[in-house]
Amino acid sequence: MNTVYKIIESILPFSWTEYNFMKNALLAIIIISPMFGSMGTMIVNNKMAFFSDALGHSALTGVAIGAIFGISDVNLSMLIFAVVFALLLNRIKRKKTVSSDTVISVFASLSMAIGLVVLSRGGNFAKYSALLVGDILSISWDEIGYLLIIFIVSLLFWLFCFNKLNAISINETLAKSKNIRVALLEDLFSVLIAVIVMSSVRWIGILIINALLILPAAASRNMASNVREYHLFSVIISLFSGICGLIISFYAGFAAGPTIVIIAALIFFATLLLSLILRHN
């Protein structure tokens, strides 16, 4: 751990790298933002933005459940609830009795409401307000270890399943005819989103975590003309806005999560402008 810190200090001899919590935050961003970038492409493709938003909000109930059952590791209760939430949502969505955005909205509101009811008992919600806007001091060395594991797992998933997922997103019936197990893959993908959202929601903040999944991919989609470009640009934009936002937030005294989102949004608008100009010509 100290060697990693030393390496960062010697590569980046700035005042913000003198602090261990900033080094932790930097490492977390370097690991997590490429994941957000690449997952985001598929979320945007499949029009799942609302789904991932609902997942982020479910973190509140995860924390509440942890508080009720006295689970000391909040990460664990958040993760378990989010996975259950994602699978349940997928199952109901497949029944196709109501339109999927309605189902998601019902789930999102319910989980928010449960979380708020439990956490505001006795008027103590202020204790949890850090969850909403995020707290980069909460990144510990152990969490970086978890992030690394999640990173490797999602990389493997991406390597083996991306083409199949892409096929499903282009045409579900076609994918089925190619013997692709649509339901299983969708579930796996949802669980993966749940895991990466929960792994970083505490320091990015419930209110804005979805923006980090959506914005880099959306910005990249404005410019990309094939899947490879789409991915590459999204990862670059995600990584850049993460690191840039972190550093600005340190010097300016802003909250880190929102600063990152603002940078990503600026890039989105710039690429949108570019695509409009290109189309016009």
Binding site: M22, N124, G253
Partner: protein, 321 residues
């Protein structure tokens, strides 16, 4: 593809440049404030009451800089969340003075990041009343907090003056001498306040009013009530943005009416609408007590707040028509 990549890179360079300019501008104004003279010993206190101790102990001692970690109007720290700016301030400190008694919930974060930081617990060896960490409102206990901080700083100086060299070298014996003088002077003034509270207590008990109970709207007032022997029927902490439900307020109003509670002690720091509501619906009267957790940064704040409180108590207890 290459042109698009180029566009992204240009965009990133542009954003970085704008950010760098922005940071440079904000940083310039910040470094101007710091001033030329570097204090040799930096003491950071977590919030107002302990900041006042530091301010008074190091009055006219230029070698020591006293800073408050949180803004002076933060108030009680119950759910305070550290910012990265706070962590920066702590990293520059030699000593961190905390109120202790569980007031600083974020202490774990600090200890994890700065294991070598000297932390002085002002409430060391002070027995908390009902797990209440707002001990400074009892002047007697406040004096003990002052003594705790004084002793801890003296032993810090003893320990470190031999090690320190160069620009960090302090004239420890001179500082210790003036520190002790300052502490004695400050303690004497607080003892006067303690005496005046004693008088109130005697008059209050002699008047046989000790059946009249009080409702307090801040945990801190428990210490004042205890000091003058006034029984507290309810403690309704209105710190944080608690909103009591209508049912709870109704229950309190009923109890105030049945129990013959005469005093509602609320405070300026938080909204006093609940106390006002209860006052309007019952025969009890609301009085504003200053818990000395916010102020204008003057070192007299604690004494001024307590003098105000004494006046409020006198008018509440003895001048009721």
């Amino acid at each position: 593809m290459k042109r698009k990549l180029l566009f992204i890179i240009l965009l990133m360079v542009l954003i970085t440049a704008v950010a760098a300019v922005f940071i440079a501008i904000t940083k310039d104004s910040a470094s101007d404030k710091e001033g030329a003279e570097e204090a040799k010993l930096k003491l950071v206190s977590t919030f107002y009451p302990v900041y006042l101790i530091g301010l008074n102990l190091f009055d006219n001692i230029n070698e020591v800089e006293v800073k408050s970690l949180t803004d002076l109007d933060t108030g009680c720290l119950h759910d305070y969340q550290l910012t990265s700016q706070d962590m920066k301030n702590i990293s520059e400190a030699d000593i961190l003075v905390i109120n202790g008694g569980g007031m600083e919930a974020f202490l774990q974060d600090i200890k994890a990041n700065y294991p070598d930081l000297t932390i002085i617990d002002a409430s060391k060896d002070i027995e908390l009343y009902q797990d209440n960490s707002h001990v400074w409102l009892d002047p007697d206990l406040y004096i003990r907090q002052i003594e705790n901080v004084r002793d801890a700083i003296i032993s810090y100086l003893d320990l470190n003056s031999s090690k320190a060299t160069g620009s960090k070298k302090l004239d420890a014996s001179k500082i210790k001498e003036r520190l002790t003088e300052n502490a004695d002077a400050y303690i004497r003034r607080i003892e006067e306040i303690d005496l005046r509270l004693d008088e109130i207590k005697e008059k209050y008990l002699a008047a046989g009013k000790n059946s009249a109970k009080a409702v307090i709207f801040h945990d801190a007032f428990a210490y004042i009530a205890k000091r003058i022997g006034m029984p507290v029927a309810y403690s309704i902490p209105l710190d944080h943005d608690t909103s009591l439900s209508a049912e709870e307020i109704a229950a309190i109003i009923d109890d105030v009416n049945n129990d013959e509670i005469s005093y509602l002690f609320t405070e300026e720091q938080y909204s006093d609408s609940v106390a006002k509501r209860i006052e309007a619906e019952t025969s009890a009267k609301a009085y504003i007590i200053d818990s000395a957790v916010t102020g204008n940064g003057s070192k007299e704040s604690y004494i001024e707040a307590m003098e105000k409180n004494i006046k409020v108590l006198e008018s509440a207890l003895f001048n009721q028509g």
